[in-house]
Symmetry: C2
DNA sequence: AAGGCCAGTCGAAGCGCTTCGACGCATCTA
DNA sequence: TAGATGCGTCGAAGCGCTTCGACTGGCCTT
């Protein structure tokens, strides 16, 4: 392994000079700099991460806590994770992947061992156990998601309240007055995951204002579960003509079941999904949808965490504005009787 | 931050003693051990990762290189990644998430900086650029996937040749003699990703032996792309009665299109998928499938990498035996005429 | 011409840990 | 009873880097 000392010797300078060339923290003459940089290249030098971390107490690592459960909103998670990793690299950071399994203990471990300089938490619950720890630590942290009380925390999330409202408005605008919401799996609500509840809030509030009836049903993403849910919905509200789907994996089953029942989309029923654009455009009907900007969320989380590491101030809560794209799955509702 | 020295002082022993309690590399009396462990707990001590890495030249980190592309076989990748992270933790390792973006350079960087003790590579191409580097380094590495020449490498993968063969055998056993294969997106083949080509090999070879006609068509996972592909298939081979689907996202569109065309599953056509069990059971028809054991692959990759880190010998290539589960999407083929 | 200043460089002191050799003491062996 | 053996512990020497203070020479002031 090539060391700083060897580079220094090769370039005929002292170790500290090489270090300053690398960090740019002191001015170095152009000629020296050139020589050092050439030596670095010729020897194929890479600074030792451990030594650097020890000496500078900065590891250049950002920890990313992803949910353990792999059964829900997987594409979104994956997209965020990859966006986080690539964005982090552009700032010189690497990403440490932590699963939710360790729980709050992971936060303590990272903090104590100085393994990472900062943390990004995904899948934040309304009353997340990790939050007290995050508030105490002076290591920067950014949440992807919005807890019940974001005081003192930095959060990045889609504005799910507005998202819910937009869905209702769109359907209302088309003439729909009875809407069913196919929600996430019941477990998501039991865990009080922020986004699910907030979407619902937005939906209900706006529906109340507009005089639209809303029926919400959590639902697993399986075909069978959806069939049962759908049956119950039409049983309870036969006049339902609009659907809002929050559970990605429920999209195809829903379309397929509606078709089988002879309900045409969008002639008889309109469907609007809350999902990444990719899902919306790949579905068997091009779906009207509000996009979940997964990449953007990952990117922004990193930008914020890096800004904090630089000591810059960062707004506490950044809510991305939802964008609704009209595609082929929504159309005029029933003529008023 | 609590340091080793503080723990030592608190427990009334020397720093090295605390270190030996932690590592167990020398025997320590029960009473001393107790005292030290109590001090550790009371002070909430966590060893500094950088210092430890520097002194021991082991970082206790495993690097995981995931593909950059987020558009393909995402659930499989995510499951593997999470399995890797959780399994690694049980062995005391953390996982560093690298995207394919950096390419071979990432291998050099990790190697040079001693950031990770070992690497796990996903999404291995047949002639992957990273392989020469992996072969040279003495840092343990495990591939998830199988390159053209695995000499000197440790690989974990599903036996995709056998997988392809099993699919053909199953359909042949049911009486099907004309089979269409809905493959991965063309890009996957262009990159010569191992698993896709190997599956095809297995399919074709066994089909040749059994006298089954096989038509292979790469296909994007969108509804439209699949509709076009399907049309061409039936155009070219009207007698096709069996489908093998390798592209997860093509599953639902295929089922839906077949239904629309009035082809009943499994009465008129049989469909068999190569996908995680979860996908197979959630589809609108419970799919006969050969499972992609994503978690198992992640787990085994870690076990192997950890074994290598301990200096144990590890078989070069571990191919998991594919398991076909018969569900509702496959049935007797056309009566022989 | 003397003083001050700054850019450019160096030396040395750690950062917190692991690990090697050494030491003291008790126990065994011959 | 002398020497060998082993266990449990300690001190000290790094691991490879960053960073602080100090030094040197040139250039600007006055």
């Amino acid at each position: 392994m090539v060391t700083l000392a060897e580079v220094a010797h090769h370039a005929g300078v002292s170790a500290s000079t090489v270090s300053y060339v690398l960090s740019g923290k002191r001015s170095i003459s152009a000629s020296t700099k050139d020589r050092v940089e050439r030596s670095i290249r010729e020897l194929g030098y890479h600074p030792n991460a451990g030594a650097r971390a020890l000496a500078s107490s900065r590891s250049n690592i950002i920890a990313l806590m992803v949910p353990l459960r792999t059964d829900m909103y997987v594409p979104v998670m994956m997209e965020i994770a990859i966006a986080v990793a690539t964005t982090a690299r552009t700032h010189g950071y690497d990403v440490l992947l932590l699963t939710g399994e360790e729980g709050p203990e992971a936060v303590r471990r990272i903090e104590g061992s100085a393994l990472a300089d900062a943390m990004i938490l995904m899948d934040v619950e309304l009353h997340d156990e990790r939050l007290p720890l995050i508030r105490e630590t002076d290591r920067p942290a950014v949440l992807i998601g919005l807890p019940a009380d974001p005081t003192g925390l930095t959060c990045v999330d889609l504005d799910f309240v507005a998202t819910g409202a937009q869905c209702v408005e769109h359907l209302f605008g088309l003439g729909h007055r009875e809407i069913a919401v196919i929600g996430e799996a019941p477990a998501v609500y039991e865990r009080h995951t922020g986004f699910a509840e907030r979407t619902l809030d937005g939906l209900r509030t706006r529906a109340g204002e507009l005089g639209v009836r809303v029926l919400h049903r959590p639902c697993e993403g399986t075909y069978d579960a959806l069939a049962a849910t759908l049956a119950r919905i039409f049983d309870e509200r036969p006049g339902t003509t609009g659907f809002v789907v929050q559970n990605e994996s429920a999209v195809e089953p829903l379309l397929s079941l509606l078709r089988r029942q002879g309900r045409a989309i969008p002639e008889d029923v309109s469907v609007i999904a809350i999902c990444p654009d990719q899902v919306a455009t790949q579905a068997s009907v091009r779906l009207t949808s509000v996009a979940i900007p997964a990449q953007e969320m990952g990117r922004q989380a990193v930008e914020r965490v890096v800004a904090k590491l630089r000591g810059q101030d960062v707004d506490e809560v950044a809510l991305l504005v939802p964008e609704l794209t009209v595609r082929a799955s929504s159309g005029p509702g029933p003529a008023k009787g």
